[in-house]
Amino acid sequence: MTSARVIALTVNGEEVEAAVAPRTHLADFLRDVLSLTGTHLGCEHGVCGACTVRLDGAIVRGCLVLAVQAEGRRVETIEGVSDSGEIADLQEAFVTRNALQCGYCTPAMLLTAQDLLLAGGVPDRDAIRDHLSGNYCRCTGYEAIVDAIEQVARARAGRVA
């Protein structure tokens, strides 16, 4: 095993410096080193989407990015976008519509939904379903999630107009 390397990056707006083994993936780094346990692990091979985080503004699978690849970059997790209030409307809609049951997929689902909504416009249900198609949810059957995102998309469009 190669020895640890020190990396510096920004996580949720905070400068972070830490020693990590080169093989450590970003999700393990966030969870085990920074105690940001809102990022979840479901499959660790890039299929379930539970580890989705933002890297320089784009959503990525935290299990398919090595922590050392995040050197000098900007990482945002569910904790960050919650505290900033960026997705407060989506979170409220998920709660009201019961768009989560066990909640394990939810942080990643919210980040993925926000990624779609940041593209602007009001996506139709097929477009929403398509954008979520890399995020596995075993509990809801997806319909409530689609409903919640659709409602927020309309509300945001209404505010813009």
């Binding site: 095993m1 093989r23 979170q91 049951q101 909640g103 995020n135 809801t140």
Partner: protein, 794 residues
């Protein structure tokens, strides 16, 4: 039977939350990533375990070389099966009411032989999971490969090796049932239809894998097991039993659980091993299954082949049902609920919605060298429903009758209750006809049929499928207790009013995302008379909740909810007794509404709960002599009149088939179900939708495929297909309400109805779409390959 949610007088409280879609109070933190799943927990001195698992389906262990692993970086201990067996005793997964069920002793880790690919044979404990996995690769196991039993249909043949020679054969359990005049009914039938139904093996795929953090503290002589289990007290008993502890020495704590669906209600060898390791090492040990371990060691389910037959008269009357079922359960019956329950349910449930009294069934449960199977959401129901509804559609086709009409002529009449099914299941009050009528109206069945005919002219092949079902909910002791399992069938709720008038609710039923805690808060708030935000619900901690069964078999709302209702009424009476003393009034003239003591007749506010609590706790000297406030009430509930509160429902599926590629598109799905009183319509609907999608996964995607050597071919989420958002349809849900009279709430279970009938409806829809090609399929999962083969193009 009511068409609208119930307005029973007992529930008609001021500001009632019963029947309202209030949001779950505990959700906001989960949307912020502030859940506390077992995988998130960290304790001082905690170490991690990785297991060395058998790469073979069946192999003797000649030698385990642990020297290199012990010397690896970060390793704390390497433990083999025989070493672990000195700390953790083996178990046998049988129940006495399943007569003849047999299984072999199973250890937490294999002692001399591995019986399925994935069975743990050694444990490596290290400072980090990564180091434990590194060292696990250095453990050298010398194997002597044994012949694997993989085909359940030949498992009982003389040429097939017997997995456990002490048991004599590979037959774990057999049950036969005969009711009415079966042979005569087939002989006199105008048509007899038959098919061979195949139900693929699949698994639960909870997004959070199984996890345990076991913390043996020798200083206090206690084991605290942070687990993701649906049945904390069951685990408390079993951990104590096999680790040589008193039950009082074991505490099981369940915080957030990332999906369960029955997967997390069983005893898993690697979790027992983790607890034993904690005891051996005197420090916290954590195990989190990775995804490959989940696929090879989480329980699998289904894997049935059923020969089914039905007789029908020209007028549409079904004369008889007959099934011959076989299922392969892996090498051991799972402890303690056993792996025979699913087959037993199949026998109990086939033909269940129908009047037909002539029924013959046989099921055989056989051992094989694959991952053990056990109870998973809707145990047995998708098989019973798939067979019954498949035969009903075949019967309709045989006599040229519309399948909806044939159902109408055979479903048990809505005014026929109480009654029994041919298999002897007691039915209190169901609503098959009202449900079917409602479903057909929702679907615009006639309109869909017309559209289907028109589209076929244009080469578009749509299919419409129906599936009626009954569902076991609110189980009494009949499920496990009578068989000798120490699994509580009653559940309890303790309520405590604190000094500000707020209520703490401690409940033995558990929460895995269904909304148990929300429903309990609704019920308590309504029964006691406070706003929901004044009720805080605590579950999942054997040190802090009443003894009970937990959440499984669709029992939390019906059983736990009734305990909460009764406890709420009891606490109200206690508080009103003190309030009456303060107000010098007759308690019978008072009530509690919106957190105030009020005059029952007029609703006039008399005194706030906070003031009553203040006097009771801080100025009891001002109360009359002899008045001792008691602001804690506990009530338990278990059904006694009916072994199970059966529910019913019917599902409809609309699909479109591409006969060139074999691809099937789900266009729309409908469900009407009757779970009695609907406590929270949104939560019930979402249980139904989630359950339907699990059933659709089984129908179209999910399959634990094995090769002939017993090697799992679908051990990753890239290989094992799951329902994702893009392929799933919108699902319309409606309700008919037939409350159970056994409780004041009248609620039955709703968690498994969706899964019970979804695959049957889709398979019937596929066959409807393939009818122009005179093709049929009676196997799930339905894949493009199997469809093309059925169409003669494979």
């Amino acid at each position: 039977m009511n068409e609208v949610p119930s307005n029973l007088s007992a529930l008609d409280r001021p500001n009632s939350y019963i029947g309202r879609s209030v949001p779950r109070p505990n959700l906001a933190r989960l949307t912020q990533g502030r859940g506390q799943y077992v995988t998130d927990l960290v304790l001082p001195r905690m170490v991690h375990v990785a297991f060395v698992r058998s790469p073979h389906a069946h192999a003797a262990i000649e030698r385990i070389g642990t020297e290199a692993a012990r010397a690896a970086t970060g390793v704390v201990a390497v433990v083999t099966g025989p070493e672990l067996a000195e700390v953790c005793t083996p178990w046998v997964g049988v129940l006495s009411h399943l007569k003849g069920l047999k299984s072999a002793p199973q250890h937490a880790m294999a002692v001399d032989r591995a019986c399925w690919q994935g069975e743990a044979v050694a444990a490596v404990v290290a400072r980090s999971r990564a180091e434990a996995e590194d060292a696990a690769e250095l453990v050298e196991v010398t194997w002597s490969v044994l012949p694997a039993v993989t085909d359940m249909e030949t498992a009982l043949e003389a040429a097939t090796p017997v997995i456990h020679p002490d048991l004599g054969d590979n037959l774990a359990f057999e049950r036969r049932l005969e009711a009415g005049a079966v042979d005569e009914s087939f002989t006199s039938a105008d048509a007899v239809v038959e098919a061979r139904f195949v139900f693929g093996r699949h698994t639960g795929v909870t997004l959070e894998p199984r996890a345990i953090l076991a913390d043996w503290n020798p200083g206090e002589g206690r084991l605290t097991a942070h687990m993701a289990t649906q049945a904390p007290h069951m685990l408390q008993n079993i951990l104590a039993l096999h680790l040589g502890l008193d039950e009082a020495q074991v505490r099981v704590v369940c915080r957030d659980i990332g999906g369960s669906f029955g997967v997390k209600v069983h005893v898993y060898p690697d979790e027992m091993a983790t607890a034993a390791l904690s005891k051996m090492l005197r420090r916290p040990v954590k195990f989190v299954a990775d995804r490959l371990e989940s696929f090879t060691t989480d329980i699998h389910a289904r894997d049935h082949v059923v020969l089914g037959r039905a007789g029908v008269m020209r007028d549409g009357r079904i004369t008889a049902f007959e099934i011959d079922d076989i299922t392969g359960i892996g090498p051991y019956s799972v402890y303690p609920r056993t792996s025979a329950i699913e087959a037993n349910q199949v026998v109990n449930l086939v033909g269940g919605p129908y009047e037909c009294r002539n029924y013959r069934a046989r099921t055989r449960v056989v051992f094989q060298n694959k991952t053990p199977t056990c109870q998973y959401r809707a145990v047995g129901h998708p098989i019973a429903c798939g067979v019954t509804e498949g035969l009903v559609d075949l019967a309709a086709e045989a006599i040229g009758m519309d399948p909806a009409e044939l159902r109408r002529r055979n479903l048990i009449r809505d005014d026929a209750y109480p009654c029994e099914t041919a298999s002897g299941m007691k039915l209190e009050a169901l609503s098959h006809h009202a449900s079917l009528d409602r479903l057909l109206a929702m679907m615009d069945y006639e309109g869909l049929r017309a559209e289907q005919a028109e589209l076929r002219q244009r080469g578009i092949y749509r299919g419409i499928g129906l599936a009626s079902f009954i569902e076991v909910t609110n189980p009494s002791a009949a499920f496990y207790g009578v068989g000798g399992a120490r699994i509580s069938s009653q559940d309890g709720v303790t309520l405590r009013m604190d000094a500000t008038g707020a209520v703490v609710c401690q409940a033995s039923v558990t929460e895995q995302g269904q909304g148990t805690e929300a429903v309990l808060a609704q019920v308590v708030a309504t029964a006691f008379g406070v706003p929901m935000k004044r009720v805080r619900v605590l579950t999942g901690d054997t040190d802090n909740v009443p003894y009970g069964g937990g959440t499984w078999a669709s029992r939390a709302a019906g059983i736990g909810g009734e305990a909460a209702w009764q406890a709420g009424k009891a606490l109200r009476a206690q508080v009103l007794a003190v309030a009456a003393s303060v107000l010098q009034a007759d308690a019978a003239t008072l009530d509690i509404a919106a957190g105030m003591v009020v005059d029952k007749e007029t609703g006039r506010e008399r005194v706030g709960l906070e003031e009553v609590a203040r006097i009771a706790y801080f100025r009891p000297d001002t109360l009359p002599p002899g008045v001792q406030p008691e602001f804690v009430a506990t009530r338990h509930f278990v059904p006694r009149q009916y072994p199970f509160a059966f529910t019913n429902g019917v599902q409809g599926a609309l699909v479109e088939l591409d006969p060139e590629t074999g691809f099937l598109r789900l266009l729309k799905h409908w469900v009407v179900e009757d779970c009695g009183t609907v406590l929270n319509p949104q939560l019930v609907d979402e249980q139904v939708r989630g359950g339907v999608v699990q059933g659709l996964g089984a129908a179209l995607f999910e399959h634990c495929r094995y090769d002939g050597e017993g090697q799992l071919q679908t051990g990753s989420m890239a290989d094992y297909l799951l329902p994702m958002s893009a392929e799933m349809p919108d699902i319309s849900v409606a309700h008919v309400v037939s409350p159970t009279a056994e409780t004041e709430l009248g609620a039955k279970g709703a968690g498994e109805a969706g899964t019970a009938g979804a695959a049957a409806a889709v398979l019937n829809a596929l066959n409807d779409a393939m009818r122009p090609f005179r093709a049929r399929l009676s196997e799930i999962p339905i894949t493009p390959d199997t469809v093309l083969k059925a169409l003669g193009k494979g």
